[in-house]
Subunit: 193 residues, 2 copies
DNA sequence: CGCATTTCTTAACTTAAGGTAACGATTAGT
DNA sequence: ACTAATCGTTACCTTAAGTTAAGAAATGCG
């Protein structure tokens, strides 16, 4: 499992054996079963997650309804907003599947960054890249219809549609489950007809 | 103008006189008139921008129509995606108003980060915060209707609605200018009635 | 100042999404 | 294996957004 992580990191910065050991000695690996809630709305936490295997999601509960807004799968990570602003979380985080992830916190990071500045560079680069990608994602969302967004997701993340319940995909696409169901039927009919 | 920048930075990390001088000696300030195009679709650039005064926007041209997806005003910055992936830009960047900004590039950053690691920490923190904020923004977008999004914008960025043409606000809200116009009339009628 | 362009509004029509509800299908738990 | 809960589909009606088009208002420029 550690290897997955060090391999991923090696794509961005080269690691000495010492640095690899520093990582694996941190004891940051955690596994959690499908359905496990990692963070609750209203809760303050300082844990950041990086998914090695499996899938986690963030969701809000609005008028008693779950609204899933993001999925994180292999080699994707998130630092919940509440970790940064130290206020109660607006959203939940839970496991869509049995998952293995790393868990970090700001204190740990400071400590590591002091010993190995390289890791801070890594984190900066990852955040900057993610920010730019995220912006493009958002742009695409704004400039397309629900149907286009669904077709787009089919292309870019076909795995998600397989591994995640459809009503969670629906709110991820910004629509209701019923609309997604209809939309899918429409798309299918158009292909056939 | 330099003071605006150093004051902003000082909110995140404390700066020595030497560091302040390092910044101001970089000669990174640029001003541009309303309508100036800073980056064109298809162009490769390595400039990042940080707005000190004024407003810039990113937009796509889709089927001959401009789709504005983001605005950056005082103390907001962006690194275009093309800077990071070195591929032609998907979007344009232009000035909504006469603007003053700093212009940076990756080489400069590396140089500065080596001399003053503090600045790398600053950039990391800013990116991480921005990423989390951006995600919440996106979440709100997905979980609300166009009307809610408009009302939300009125609350959070009342200045934007004043300083930016309405058809640009419309695509920023993910709708057509006609829809925004109708929606506004509806909202107004509801307040009165 | 007046003409051209851009921007905003309005309206009529079309299309699709939201809301509600009912009913299978699938899944999970005992 | 059976029951309960969750999940997906379908249908009906309502509401609002997209489309197209026209014209009014504001802005920019010579």
């Amino acid at each position: 499992m550690q290897e997955l992580l060090t391999d991923f990191i090696s794509k961005y910065v080269s690691l000495t054996e010492e640095e690899k050991n520093a990582i694996t000695s941190l004891d940051i690996f955690r596994s959690a079963r499908k359905g496990t809630i990692l963070l609750e709305q209203g809760q303050i936490s300082n844990e950041g997650y990086f998914v090695l295997k499996g899938c986690i999601r963030t969701y809000y509960v609005i008028d008693g309804e779950e609204k899933t807004t993001a999925f994180y799968t292999e080699m994707e990570g998130l630092t919940p907003h509440c970790v940064l602003d130290k206020k109660p979380s607006e959203y939940f985080i839970s496991c869509v599947e049995d998952s293995i992830m790393t868990v970090s916190n700001p204190d740990m990071e400071v400590e590591i960054f002091e010993k190995f500045p390289k890791f801070e560079t890594l984190c900066r680069i990852l955040s900057e890249e993610l920010l730019a990608k995220q912006q493009i994602n958002f742009d695409e969302f704004k400039t397309s219809s629900p149907e286009q967004r669904y077709l787009n997701l089919l292309q870019k993340r076909p795995d998600l549609i397989q591994r995640v319940p459809q009503h969670q995909i629906a709110s991820f696409l910004g629509i209701t489950p019923q609309s997604l169901s209809r939309l899918r039927a429409r798309v299918l009919a158009n292909i056939k007809g």
